[in-house]
Point group: C2
Chain length 351, copies 2
């Protein structure tokens, strides 16, 4: 029988395939999924027909019946950051290999959007949620909605300071420590710090690493050259301008964000500062542009792909464990320092 124009868009169901093969829809369902109790011959026959008739499964029906969507929900502040898109790539890699789909959403660093997304994910019955929280997310009420309905949550990178949740983070303290220590080793004396939002553990830890290195080298911590909420290009430009007008201006910068570090670097160049001779800069995240900009920017590599992969693995562990909520996983990834031109000067004799 030829295609019927009257029902051109009526997609075939397993029932249709079943009647065409004089068998039952359970057999079709099983055959399509390669169930072991179905004969190879039947599997072949069913799959051939399915292809011929252009059959595709109705996920809504399958999800409804089985109670499982085989989908991981991923929430990030924004998708156009290399860091996050790499995390997502890592998640996709592991999820796909385990038969899960990935649903990507961005909160735009907005807690209302984040809340909304979580609601949608609950409605969609995602198997688990992997989240890097919005910057202003200081309470976890909307995240607890997931607990209430039994959906596991794994935090990555930007985690809440609540040890009852699984998380995959880098050792931010160490990353910041390495960066600051490196600047000190290069002979810089007054190292400024652009921190982030102190709500977030990651920025707290980066600050702590900065302070640890200074202490270790006997350098006094000077609050006048530390600023918080300095994460964007614009904020970085603005802030460094102010710092450079101080009587005791800094001669180096460790920024918790590549973007604000870039803002500083561009400003300093515009006023004729020689980088790295007179001023050293180290950022954080290894955004692609850090290797393009001139001078190339030193930065801390967070191994974003690994963060994503590990977050997905933790997630799958939970999903496959019988008692889903008895295992708390805290994975910590080691950051590495990438030294480029912006901080690599010949060490001065008068160090």
């Amino acid at each position: 029988m030829e295609q019927d124009n009257h029902q051109k868009y009526n997609r075939p169901t397993i029932k249709d395939l079943a009647s065409e093969l004089n068998t039952s829809s359970s057999t079709i369902s099983r055959a399509l999924r390669g169930h072991h109790t179905i004969s190879d011959a039947m599997i072949q026959k069913v799959r051939d027909l399915a292809k011929l008739r252009n059959y595709s499964v109705n996920r809504s029906a399958a999800n409804l019946r089985s109670g499982s969507s085989m989908t991981l929900g991923v929430i990030v502040p924004r998708i156009n950051r290399d860091f996050f898109s790499n995390c997502i790539a890592g998640i996709e890699e592991i999820a796909k290999s385990a038969g899960y789909s990935v649903l990507i959403s961005q909160s735009h660093d907005n807690i209302l959007d984040e809340s909304e997304i979580i609601k949608t994910m609950i409605e969609g019955n995602v198997s688990a949620v992997l989240i890097s929280v919005a910057i202003k997310t200081s309470n976890v009420k909307h995240i607890e909605q997931l607990d209430k309905v039994g959906i596991p949550v794994v935090f990555f990178d930007r985690a809440m300071d609540d040890s009852k949740y699984c998380k995959v983070v880098i050792d931010d303290l160490k990353g910041a420590y390495l960066a600051t220590k490196h600047l000190l080793d290069m002979g810089y004396k007054r190292i400024a710090h652009f921190a982030g939002d102190m709500n977030l553990m990651i920025y707290e830890n980066r600050m702590a690493g900065y302070e640890k290195a200074l202490k270790e080298y006997g350098v006094k911590i000077d609050p006048t050259i530390i600023s918080t909420n300095t994460l964007t290009f614009e904020n970085g430009q603005e802030q460094i301008k102010q710092f450079m007008q101080l009587k005791k201006a800094p001669d180096a910068l460790f920024a918790a964000s590549d973007f604000s570090a870039l803002g500083a670097l561009i400003y300093l160049k515009s006023i004729g500062t020689n980088i790295p001779k007179d001023f050293g800069v180290v950022g954080f995240s290894n955004e692609t542009f850090t290797s393009f900009v001139s001078p190339n920017m030193s930065t801390v590599n967070q191994h974003s792909l690994d963060i994503g992969r590990n977050a997905a693995k933790v997630c799958l562990n939970i999903l496959e464990s019988p008692s889903k909520f008895n295992m708390i996983n805290h994975v910590i990834i080691e950051p590495t320092l990438i030294v480029r031109e912006s901080s690599q000067r010949i060490v001065l004799n008068n160090k």
Copy 2:
């Protein structure tokens, strides 16, 4: 009654709410959706209880029954490009205001992934698909799968050269023309061109715009300073190196991609070329980094947010029209040239 630990994760259904209010599930369903035949008092009562019981709708069930997912599927090559993430932002804005969700997927510029994603979207019964095709997508077989099941498709930016589909594109020819004309006006004499994949209309058109400007100024087109498939940073670096070794090396570049333009710019700086005095560079897309790099890079603004908005609008038009496939929409967005340092030199007298 207190929470029952035995069924802690049994999410309430409309049936549960119905029995608690001594009404029917149809009434609950209608009330939750604000159906006009339900009294305001009842609507209030139902919504209050729903909130109290932490009810959330089961989308799988709703989709299955209603046959509509109210979801727009979006497929882009990669999400970590400002251009695409802005398009997505535009789509999200319009979709959300019309009550649609957005499902984001990336093809990684891989036709197999793209095919796979389309399959998944069909299974998920998305209402429509908005796609910017993978670079190697020269046949539309996998896209025709969508037609077969009656899912409308809207192309944006990277469209197939097949007028039966709706598309939202910029006037690439004009953008390229403006860029090249500008370089000529600045007195550059030998303008090279980094083109993209000639499968894609956008790159074909950019090439055409480049040629149009040259012809208009009586400059002969020289294939030795035109290269194709030069879209990445690395390719740009490599290619400009070769061009600069020619006997008749170019003194300017119009690149169809900001990334390859950046590669060229960085290489030229590394060999001491003075930009823009001795060499002019114009890119394409207005990626964020173009305004950071030094010298700032001139580029063509594609108005990515508008592309996304328009693509979503075209999509909604189709979905709301009774005869979904009788309207072909071709929207063309006007690009604008952004002149920055990399091409803005004092016009020489010997022009």
